[in-house]
Point group: C4
Chain length 231, copies 4
Amino acid sequence: MLAALKEKVLAANLELKNRNLIIYTWGNVSGIDREKGLVVIKPSGVPYEDLRVEHMVVVDLYGKVVEGNLKPSSDTPTHLYLYQNFPEIGGVVHTHSPWATAWAQAQKGIPCLGTTHADYFYGEVPCTRPLMPAEIKDEYELNTGKVIVERFAGLNYLDFPGVLVANHGPFTWGKDPAAAVHNSVVLEEIAKIAFLTKALDGNALAISQELLDKHYRRKHGAGAYYGQAIT
Amino acid sequence: MLAALKEKVLAANLELKNRNLIIYTWGNVSGIDREKGLVVIKPSGVPYEDLRVEHMVVVDLYGKVVEGNLKPSSDTPTHLYLYQNFPEIGGVVHTHSPWATAWAQAQKGIPCLGTTHADYFYGEVPCTRPLMPAEIKDEYELNTGKVIVERFAGLNYLDFPGVLVANHGPFTWGKDPAAAVHNSVVLEEIAKIAFLTKALDGNALAISQELLDKHYRRKHGAGAYYGQAIT
Amino acid sequence: MLAALKEKVLAANLELKNRNLIIYTWGNVSGIDREKGLVVIKPSGVPYEDLRVEHMVVVDLYGKVVEGNLKPSSDTPTHLYLYQNFPEIGGVVHTHSPWATAWAQAQKGIPCLGTTHADYFYGEVPCTRPLMPAEIKDEYELNTGKVIVERFAGLNYLDFPGVLVANHGPFTWGKDPAAAVHNSVVLEEIAKIAFLTKALDGNALAISQELLDKHYRRKHGAGAYYGQAIT
Amino acid sequence: MLAALKEKVLAANLELKNRNLIIYTWGNVSGIDREKGLVVIKPSGVPYEDLRVEHMVVVDLYGKVVEGNLKPSSDTPTHLYLYQNFPEIGGVVHTHSPWATAWAQAQKGIPCLGTTHADYFYGEVPCTRPLMPAEIKDEYELNTGKVIVERFAGLNYLDFPGVLVANHGPFTWGKDPAAAVHNSVVLEEIAKIAFLTKALDGNALAISQELLDKHYRRKHGAGAYYGQAIT
């Protein structure tokens, strides 16, 4: 069942490790089959070095385990809420990568201070509000998804392929699990460069709208001219 | 004698090196056999690349060498005092890992600024007071254990699997040597993320009690739902 | 066509990756054959692990593709403008290496705070002005080259083998592609050391003219006595 | 001639690279045969990956090349001056390792903020004064040695196995080339931890004399009890 997607989700989980974004079991990747309405996700708390394709858990969009002997990631309700509300994404990633997590812990969005950032995010990387006590107490992981979606009111989730959850860490997404991991790696790097920039000049300002448009549009959308034409 | 424990202690020492927490001989791991009341510990000043299982030193809880041709770690009295006072721990680790050591040198506990931290420590990572001149002069390593235990007055050592010794560095513990090393790795990572957070916002506050409870209890205790059920 | 130069450009691109200056496709290296007036450059957006010598693109100094099935790097017009205006350079590199990019994002040149820097740059690493909106909108990559050359009014590009483009990142050059990569690695390292120095003392001053002269002239020009005589 | 010493000097140079203290040719190690009054040193500007034992250069204490086809390191006069004035050292190392170099560029000694430091240096790592213009102009490398020795007036060079040269970088020494490299690695690590400590608390103070004595004397001198007895 969903053999190809399971392979992709496994590979994307292992890539997180290879890219040094996680230690131990501190992250998770999922992927969705939109036609079947099923999500494949990493099991909870299994070390990356032991992960096999048969450990991948299949859940439906309501969180019911459809296949698999292991419990899915404890963050599964967050992933599912994102799939429900961001209909064009195919993969979701959560990590505690240190530079991005530091911004999340400081409850600050990452300002767009340069073209490296503008190549991937069409402006500041958004940071959610902290969850309220009641939102933490019950259905915490679902409510984590809800504050993310709330934060995207007025923002196009395709133009901002990730978010910082206040006091927690980053979630990213993409057209498939590999793209979501790619965006996690990028987010960590731009979080680092932004940190260093702010340390050099606490008043460093976001780049101009023109430079943001130029770089983002160079790589995304109808007028993009970066990379090779898809044939 | 204690062959299995020696293997575990050796493996845990080597894991410290593999995780890049130490250079040269800057760390030590021990493990205890509670039934026999014997502790296995790394010998003093032997390079990690040369460590063999037969180098492991067996001492009793009073520090008497029961087996082994080498001198035990100079920090042995600290380890023994922790085993005596924290009856449910099975392994102890000491390192000079740089981010945690920086907090220790600044004589600051590490505030709980996010969920990464709350997954492992039920609040601020405590920092001891500096030792008094008389405590340094005689029985220094024993007194290092004493200021740690003193610092845990009113704290449950199972909820805080590590400590910073002021002007010195971190000690961690766990149910066995491997778990103690795991906690050293985690402590170094949360020390780094907390440092970066404070650099972004010197006024960043500890997370709410609700979020602390949620994350800590998600992984620890009767209501834990993270990871796979132990069968 | 230009088989030897293609090999050099490929090797220099791969060296960027080996030196950990780039992730994914975030950099590009070119080299020029001055006699033929042709430039070999990395194709746009091709992952480094897939790069083969036959992917290298040959363009003339006006940007016309002379050989190759792939699109050249989107930064090609910047490279070409540098070759046109800096007649003694043989290779150009662009990266988003994090420490150098942070200085670029802060719109600050890197002051010459020590001999490490003075061994390679005869003073502050210059930073360009930001591009104007009109310069961004049309012929952005060409205009990136123009602000670099504008910044070098009164500076000898041979004595400063690199520059920071404001809000963007570093470009470096050298007598051939390998030398340009060497200068990228050096620039990243001196950017890091200068960052750390400024964090220790925000008022740290540039070294004296005498020390700058001594170190730069020890390695460059007629009186150089560093290294082995070229035979 | 001096075959064993050449092997040691080569190995120590390669160890600098393995420990990631240097890039390219940014460092040098030498060793002395006190009986013969001859020094073996790395040749100037030869990449580490190409270094062979036959490249090692033998010089006398006046800098005359006694054996070898290559020019010795340009820093040779500094090494020789140290051997002349510090009669019990057997090896000297110079690097531009980034954390130590940052302290040197800031013209600050590294305060002894913790036991990691006190295990190796009996107090603050000293920093020289900057060289005067006349000292830079003529016999620069010799004068570099002179300001180091000047800085050690009243200090025992055996208790402080390294120094920061203002605006330049660290030199370390030891009983042989390997020990000098060991001290370079340690110096870089304590420079990093001290930097992080000062960033957490700009007013962090040096440790007490008692703690300094305890740790330094635990590893050095007649009362040392760290490590295994030498047999």
